[in-house]
Structures are given as structure tokens and as C-alpha cells.
Symmetry: C3
Subunit: 273 residues, 3 copies
Amino acid sequence: MFGEMLENVRTKAPLVHNITNYVTVNDCANIVLACGGSPIMSDDASEVEEITAICGGLNINIGTLNEDTRRAMFAAGKKSNQCGHPVVLDPVAAGASRIRTETALRLLQKVRFAIIRGNVSEIKTLALGRGTTNGVDADIADTVTEENLDHAVAFLKAFAAKAGCVVAATGAIDIAADADRAYVIRNGHPMMSRVTGTGCMLSAMTAAYAAANPETPLEAAAAAIAAMGLCGERARNRLSARDGNATYRNYIIDEVYNLDGKTLEGGAKYEVR
Amino acid sequence: MFGEMLENVRTKAPLVHNITNYVTVNDCANIVLACGGSPIMSDDASEVEEITAICGGLNINIGTLNEDTRRAMFAAGKKSNQCGHPVVLDPVAAGASRIRTETALRLLQKVRFAIIRGNVSEIKTLALGRGTTNGVDADIADTVTEENLDHAVAFLKAFAAKAGCVVAATGAIDIAADADRAYVIRNGHPMMSRVTGTGCMLSAMTAAYAAANPETPLEAAAAAIAAMGLCGERARNRLSARDGNATYRNYIIDEVYNLDGKTLEGGAKYEVR
Amino acid sequence: MFGEMLENVRTKAPLVHNITNYVTVNDCANIVLACGGSPIMSDDASEVEEITAICGGLNINIGTLNEDTRRAMFAAGKKSNQCGHPVVLDPVAAGASRIRTETALRLLQKVRFAIIRGNVSEIKTLALGRGTTNGVDADIADTVTEENLDHAVAFLKAFAAKAGCVVAATGAIDIAADADRAYVIRNGHPMMSRVTGTGCMLSAMTAAYAAANPETPLEAAAAAIAAMGLCGERARNRLSARDGNATYRNYIIDEVYNLDGKTLEGGAKYEVR
């Protein structure tokens, strides 16, 4: 199943429109290329509707939002909805400022998302309408553990039902859920948190997976998450003693470039709840 | 000839002003440094005239244009013309939105360019005043092949005559032409299209070559194109089985850093038509 | 001493707010992660006060300033002062345009900085209220050498006394000074100047060191400078014949990731004057 999701990206090579932050935008473009998609970045309100119309999916990331890009997010989101394209939301640091929380909540009202992907603190902020974060990282109090996993799964399913889309909270344990089912995924490596933008990259790749698999957004999201985690593991194994987070970033993207469906099927560690 | 172009960059170390997109800007800066130039990025209308005046060349790339950076492009372009500096245009995704097409066409009216470099769909959009693109990649119907090469060369020469500058269309086969002569260049590797910004990087490097060789813009453009393609080949040869597009990006820039005139002369594959 | 500064960053993991340029922002984020901090980038005036309030330090870099980000710099700087957080200024290319010089000088009036770090031309521009630069690089006439070192140290101490903060001018020889003492640091490698953003990265890392060592800004700045230089040396030693400035960039960040206090103590080459 996950392997098929991946191979569909390589076969269909979807164009993915990204409205994203300027911190990790280059890595987002390269990971979309690595997984088999074709990225286009544009955040100017005067053109985003035309740009998104020629694409197969849209990724909205609020990492460095400002007044101009906010306008572009709403315009592109609505247009993408009209076109029937899957739209992914990455609510970076929602909860860390009023404007981030408000923008994310208003996007949920105005745009129909296929998938929301964030860390657990960001997702809680969207679900509860308020929240706290530790900057761009999840609040430690929110961490999903084996102990609170049942509760977290139920929470995500309930929010997915309310939001009417797939919701994914990623961290040490990843969960992707719709109203009825949740994939609990245990790939990845802690060192991924020392590379800026692994979450942003995952969201961009998720948009490519969703664009290539529009009928199965839950499986598309789960497959992208497992692929990213597996590539994080495999890249970690390539590191020598003197390599650090810069080489790790490159190797993660390299692994995504080389990953095939069979390897993903063999390496994905997940259960459905 | 190409070797001399390259060595002039290393000897003169020109300052190159870049108004470019935020997706690939870091790679553009590093490739200008790699080839021997010194990059400065600035896109604020309040300062671009001062900045461009202290440089030796200007690179205008419309990859993520917005209202503010458009103003800066016109202001810097005119000032650079007054200073007698070569100006390069990279019309990224012209044809993909009204504002991109219009901005590129208006730049052609208001600024005197030394070199225009894009993929063939972008160049056709400028020449015809309208066009279609596949996002940031060339439309497959526009691809230059051995079969339509004569036609493509004639088309570029005609547009170069009309535009009054060097025009370069890069892809599997690269062509750089002025009204009378065309360099047909067959360096490069298909995997370069899986790295974001190889076109942007080439335009930035072309501006460095043009700044160091202001009397011979056609040879400067052709040399930069051959150098980029040759470095793409050499970097490809360094890749191991687990390397992907991230490592490839780094190796391409590394090869540019280490390329000398003699190696470029030996490796450049071109003919003049 | 330097080792203790470094270990405090790893232990305290300070959140560092960066208002910085879009050219080198990704490298700045990754080097803050590499040294043990946690970066958050935000330059929208509507949220920077909230963002900076949850951080432990602020880094203001004027590399690609515009009207919007200028407003954010003043708002964040004042708020960070109210919070008692150390604020670092990187006056990139001050002297190269009126708006850069004016912005840097006004920031000095309105915001209380803990540390100013730039190349010697930028620092002279701030000290004298005017200046010349060679783009983003120091003017060759300003270079600190063994011959003019006494004069440079005295100049920096005087400016530090006037500005009421630590002032660091980095180049072939680095100097970090307050009114009374100056650290003269001789780490680093000339090839670092062929990587875009080594100065920006150092400023971001300096903010992390200052946030983790708020009582000793001079030692924090000197330790960060020595660490960056030492990592530049160590990364240079890892390069093979075909590596260039792209791989060098990655290795520098990798070395920062792996550097420990003991290695820094052993490798730092400095004297106090």
C-alpha cells in the first residue's frame, strides 16, 4: 500500500505549488524533486491562483508568514479547492503568536484541507483554538508517548472528524488519522530534530503524495510520513563520526531520492488503530 | 576561448548584484563564489541603485517576484544600464502567470539586457509575447532535439536580433545565440533537472562571466553554459549509489569551485552555427 | 572558559530569535541547531514581539532588509531589551547603501545591543557614521594585520566604550572587545570567505552563545568566534581534492555539531589585550 503511494508519485510526477517559508524552501523544493514531484514556489497574491491551477496539489506552510503571503494563502487555497486539488496545511508554530494561531484557524474556516500536518503542539492549538509551543518545536508536555498514545489517537480522530480531513501529528511517534482510522508510525530518528525543516520537508512531500493519490489522503499522508522517517533512519546509518546535521540533511534528501516502493514497504513500521 | 572567459572571472573577481528568488538564492551566491566572483543580493527598491552601482554586473531572476521586488528590478536594471554593466535576465516560469509574462516583457522594453537565459518555453514566451510552461520546467512540446535543432537555432538568432542581445535557451541541448552566430552546446546530465535551481545558478554564474568579459557576451554566456554542463557531468561521476539530488547539488558547486580554464577547454562539447 | 561557554549552550538549549536575510537563513538555522540552540525565524512586525518574548536571545541581521523587516527589527529589539535578552547586531554591508548605514545607526540608537559583530569595514562604518565596503566583504584597505593590530584593538575598545556593548570585527584576525579588554583570535581559514554566510552563521551562533551566557557577553562572543574559526580549520582538513565551497559549508556546520568544550579549549588560538 505505502509502496504504491510512493510509486504513484514517481509515475505521475505531480506539480506541487508551495507557499512556504524562506527558511527551508530550498530543501522543500529538493525533497519534492527527490520523491518524484515537481515543485513550484509562488506566494504573490497577483499570480497564485493561476499557478495553483496548473498544479496538482498545494502546500501551505505558515513558517514565515506576513501580510502579503497570508493573502496569497487564502487566494490559492480557495482556487485549489475549486480545482479539486488536495491542499496540505503546515501550521508552523501555531500557538507561538496571535497572528499564527489566527491565520491557521481562519485558513481552516476558509479552505478545505485534505491533510493537516504539524507537531502535536501545533495540532492541539488548532483543535483547541489556543495553545503553547516551544518555538517551532513541540511543547514537551504535549509529547506523544506509549503511555498516552490511546488518548492521542482518540484526540486526533476527533479533530479529524471535526475538521473533515486527515490530521497528522508527527514527533517521536507519528500519528495520521481520519475520523475512523489512525496509522501509528514508528519510523524516524531523534537526530532529525537537529536539522531545520524536516517537518516542512515532510509537509511538502506529503502534498506530492496527496497529489498523486487524491482518492486516499490518509494512506498518502501515512506513506509520506513513513517514507520520511525511514529515510531519516537510513541516512543516519550513513553518517560517519565527523558528520553532523548538515550532511545529515543532505543524506535524508538523498535517501528520499533513492527510495523505492519495495524498500518503503519493507522498512515502514506502523500499525492501524 | 571558453577557458579565457573562465580565467577572467577568477582574475577580476567581479561583484555581481543579484535580484533573485528566495528558493535558490543561497546556491546562487555560492556558485558565484565558486566561479570566482563575489555576490551581493539586494532587492529593496530603496537601495538597489546604490548597490548595483558598486557592482560589475546584474542578474535579474523573476522566480518569486512580488510588487516590491518588481520595482527593484526596474530600478536596478536602468541604473546598471547607465553604469554600462552587463545585465542578465532569467525569466523563470514566464508563461505560467500573467504577471510573470508581463513583467518579463516590460523588463525587455525598459532595460537593455546583455544576455537572456531561460528554458526554451520561457524564451518562446518572451519571443512570442505569450506561452505555456510546465511550471518551472520547459513544456515537453518545446524541447530542442537534433531533429528541430536547425529551426531552434534560427528562432533564437531571430529573437536575439530583435531583442538586441544574446539569447540562451538551455535544456538537453543548449543554444546561445546572437543575431549572427549560435553556440550549440552538448554538455550536462539529465539528473541536473532533479536539482532545484540549476537554471538559476547558471544565470547567476553567467552574470559573473559577463561582468568579467563585457566585450564578448556571447562567448561569456556560452562558456558559462558549457562550464555548468561540464560540472554537472563531472559531479555526476562522483556520485555513489546512495547519493541523490542533495549531494549532487553540492558536488556541482564543488566542481565549479575547482574548474580551471584548461579543463573547461578540454571538456566543452560545442559547435558554432 | 571558552569550553564552558560552549557547554552552556548545549545544556541550556536557548531559543534564539533571528531576523535575518533570506540568502543564508537556512544555514543560520542549522548552525544554531548544530551548536545546541533552537532557532526561530520571524520578521513580521505583527508577531515579532511575541516571538522574541518566548526566546532567550535575538539576532538582527540586515543582509536583505526592506521596509517591513526594518519595522520588525526595531519592534523586536525593543521588546527583547524589555525582556532583558541579549541582542546581537550583524550590520551586513553597512556602508554599501544609505539605507543600510542609516538603519544600522538608528538601531544603535534605539536598541541596546549586547554584541555587534561584522567585518571591519562594517564596524568602521558604524563607528564613524559613514564608510565604504566592497559589497558584503571588507574593504581591503580596512584589513586587520599584525602591523595595524594595536591600532585596531584600540579602535574597537573605543567604539565598544561609546556603544556600551561588545564589538567584534572578524576577518583574517578576529577581535572581540569591550571597553577594557580585547580578545585577539587567530583561528579560521581563508577559504571560509568563499562560502556565503559564514559571517551570518557566526552572528546567529553568537546569539546562541550570548543567550546561554548572558552575564559574560565578551567571553560568549569570543568563544563563538573561536569555535567558528576552529570548525573552519577542522572542516578544511576534511576536504578532498574535488571538494569545494559547497561541501566546505556542510562540513563547517558538521564540525560545529560535533565540537565539544574540550576540543574548543585545545584548539582556540587567542590572546587577551
